[in-house]
């Protein structure tokens, strides 16, 4: 009886994950469409042609594509780290010290989601423009001597956009993890003579590591596929992420096979990173327990 409860989940997974994934493979290894361009999906695996993967891997290891992957990785790593730096204190405060304002604060964290992501990014375009508020404020407080051109292919602008766009996703699982920690455990540490800092590092932080892990994975995955942040806040090839190249290939028609192959390569790339990451975190938490 119990295993049958998993049926809806399994169905969901097959219909909405495995089938589309198979379709991506079929397009990546499909035959060229003689009329409409792009690739006709090859549904029969015997007809699969891996030529597109050869091209992509060639560009990855000998061409410029490798740098785009590296850039994407660096952006995502920095943005995730910054999100954690910003998100952890917020989640900590809301979970442990916000008192009766908890619900209100949580609402406020989610509030940006009521506005469309594109709208929020377009708002940043205005804020960051040469005579926008960001420059005006920085000039006023004396941090800048002259207006800074934020929107002309600056790495920091794209990373800022990523952090801004995804940080709430990180706060929520962190909040849940921190909220679950039994406060008596921390009180016990303090009773036994630990300083507040020691209690935090020896008790709270390890106990919230699962939340950190979940939060990081949740923000990293969409960041790897993100294409519109860099498109809107920069538009320069200097700051393009892999997602942008995929978008371009797929939207323009002729490149749908190429775009699908690139999607698979990105998936494998992220998959390897995530496996390593999950493995090392799991090992760290095992060691912390023992």
């Amino acid at each position: 009886m119990w295993p049958s409860l998993a049926l809806p989940g399994v169905l969901w997974l097959v219909l909405l994950f495995l089938t589309p994934l198979y379709a991506v493979f079929a397009v990546a290894m499909g035959a060229p469409d003689p009329i409409f361009g792009g690739a006709l999906p090859a549904w029969n695996p015997l007809a699969w042609d891996p030529g597109e993967f050869g091209t992509i891997l060639g560009e990855l290891f000998t061409g410029q594509l490798g740098f785009v992957f590296l850039r994407t990785l660096i952006y995502v790593a920095i943005a995730t780290f910054l999100s954690l730096l910003i998100g952890y204190p917020v989640a900590y405060y809301v979970a442990r010290h916000a008192g009766r304002f908890r619900v209100l604060l949580l609402m406020l964290i989610i509030a940006p989601f009521w506005i469309n992501y594109l709208m929020r990014m377009l708002a940043w375009v205005n804020l960051l423009s040469t005579d926008g508020y960001v420059n005006q404020i920085l000039l006023f407080v004396g941090l800048l001597d002259e207006p800074r051109e934020w929107l002309v292919g600056k790495h920091e602008t794209v990373i800022l956009g990523l952090v801004y766009g995804y940080v709430p996703f990180l706060i929520l699982p962190l909040f849940a993890a921190l909220d679950r920690i039994d406060s008596r455990v921390i009180e016990a540490a303090r009773d036994l003579g630990a300083s507040p800092a020691r209690a935090f590092f020896a008790v709270t932080l390890p106990l919230s590591s699962q939340g950190i892990l979940a939060g990081c994975v949740i923000v990293m995955l969409p960041m790897f596929g993100d294409y519109y942040t860099a498109t809107l806040l920069s538009g320069s090839p200097r700051t393009n992420m892999v997602g942008k190249l995929i978008e371009q290939d797929i939207l323009s028609g002729a490149g749908s096979g190429r775009g699908a192959a690139l999607t698979v390569v990105l998936m494998v790339f992220v998959g390897i990173l995530m496996t390593y990451y999950l493995y090392s975190v799991a090992r760290a938490s095992r060691e912390a327990r023992s």
Partner: protein
């Protein structure tokens, strides 16, 4: 790379294998799920792309199973279903049609041509009127997605439209299409940012490589438009071919831009970022330039905006693209008579003007030329250069469809440009 990797598999050229694939795709589609990415309906009779050029005009092929409607029929009951680009028709025009014919108009929008093609090819969705670009027409005809027009329902076509586009090179005798709007692709700039005399330059496209305008320059985030600027920079005008040396030249030229110019590839550069002052110099479709006037922030001066189409400014010495969009009736339209009525309605001069006042893009109406449009106050004098005249279609390069192989080469080059470095 000497040839495209897809050409390496010999079996691709054999028909039997492809048919086997289609069979498999058909079986899969029976499940309903995969239909969205499945086979082309009715493409069994060896369809072929018929691509015309200005020098070699073509008639698009007719098919026995794609007949036009008979004359003298009454328009069907609505609603009329229109499949169009987003924000590409004045809502007041739709309202006017409803008042006149008593049929509601439902507009469904697509974001790009690829998305439109994919949806239409499923054969599962039925629209009546469709708005393809001129250069995409051959594939829609070959894919048998359109039905021939019956000109008895379209008196306004002969009466109002430029003769060049009543009998256009891409679709002689307007078998499948009526022209919708025209546009050229040129250079837009603000006089308060750009001081150089762009029109007086030996090659106006060179302005995109002038480091004086570093940080304020933008090109379209669209592969054919952007890469063509890379070609025009080197004096190459074969923008409808895919000669490897031309594409390499274009690529190398564009790869200079990120560092030299802090170039930005955007789609809203000409109509939004330029009037807002976010950019000072941008590649621009003429229609975007006319639309830009509406985007100038309140209190700012719209007369700083300028537009230039290099072929016209240099007596056709320097290249530049010009094209038009079309209206067509889909093969599986449920209300084909009403669809014809709609196309004829949009070709009415008054309606066309009402449409342009909102859209910015210009219908190819006989009564409209740069002088008359400035006189009527439709276009400020400073932007008269953004008005397309019939004779402009004799100049520059008219965008035509690339074959799938050529298109792939362009796409690969563009991807390389976007990788930077």
């Amino acid at each position: 790379m000497a040839f495209h990797p897809r050409e390496r598999s010999p079996w691709r050229r054999t028909m039997s294998r492809r048919e086997a694939l289609r069979l498999i795709a058909g079986t899969a589609a029976a499940g309903g799920l995969l239909a969205g990415c499945g086979s082309t309906p009715g493409s069994s009779s060896a369809p072929r792309l018929v691509i015309g050029t200005r020098e070699n005009p073509v008639e698009q092929p007719l098919f026995d199973d794609r007949q036009s409607i008979d004359s003298g029929l009454e328009p069907e009951e609505g609603p009329l279903r229109v499949y169009n680009w987003a924000d590409y028709i004045n809502p007041a025009v739709l309202k006017g049609f409803t008042q006149r014919f008593g049929s509601e108009v439902e507009v469904t929008t697509f974001y790009n041509s690829q998305e439109a093609a994919q949806k239409l090819r499923t054969g599962k969705i039925s629209f009546d009127v469709f708005f393809p670009t001129q250069d995409d027409l051959p594939k829609y005809v070959a894919g048998k997605l359109l039905q021939p027009l019956n000109h008895d329902y379209l008196p306004n076509l002969q009466k109002n439209v430029w003769p060049t586009l009543v009998d256009p090179f891409y679709d002689r005798h307007s078998r499948y299409t009526a022209p919708y709007v025209t546009y050229s692709t040129g250079i837009g700039w603000r006089t308060d940012v750009v001081s150089v005399d762009v029109a007086g330059m030996e090659n106006p496209w060179d302005v995109f490589w002038d480091p004086e305008y570093r940080g304020v320059t933008g090109l379209y985030d669209e592969y054919r438009d952007a890469l063509s600027v890379g070609m025009y920079r080197s004096g190459i005008t074969s923008v409808n071919d895919a000669k490897p040396s031309d594409l390499e030249k274009a690529r190398d030229n564009l790869l200079e831009l990120p560092d030299l110019m802090d170039i930005r590839y955007t789609i809203d550069g000409a109509y939004s970022r330029l009037p807002e002052g976010n950019l000072g110099l941008a590649q621009a479709w003429s229609g975007d330039t006319l639309l830009a006037i509406q985007y100038v922030p309140e209190g700012r001066d719209p007369s700083v905006l300028r537009y230039l189409w290099p072929p016209k400014a240099t007596q056709d010495r320097v290249g530049g693209m010009i094209s038009n969009d079309c209206m067509a009736v889909l093969a599986n339209a449920e209300r084909p008579v009403l669809a014809h009525a709609f196309i004829n309605y949009v070709l009415d001069t008054k309606v066309a003007l009402e449409n342009m006042s909102w859209l910015g893009y210009q219908p190819p109406q006989k009564s409209l030329d740069p002088t008359s449009m400035v006189d009527r106050g439709l276009v400020p004098e400073t932007l008269a250069t953004a008005v397309v005249a019939q004779e402009d279609f004799e100049m520059g390069q008219i965008t035509t469809q690339l074959t799938p192989e050529e298109d792939s080469s362009w796409q690969e080059t563009w991807s390389r440009v976007q990788q930077g470095g």
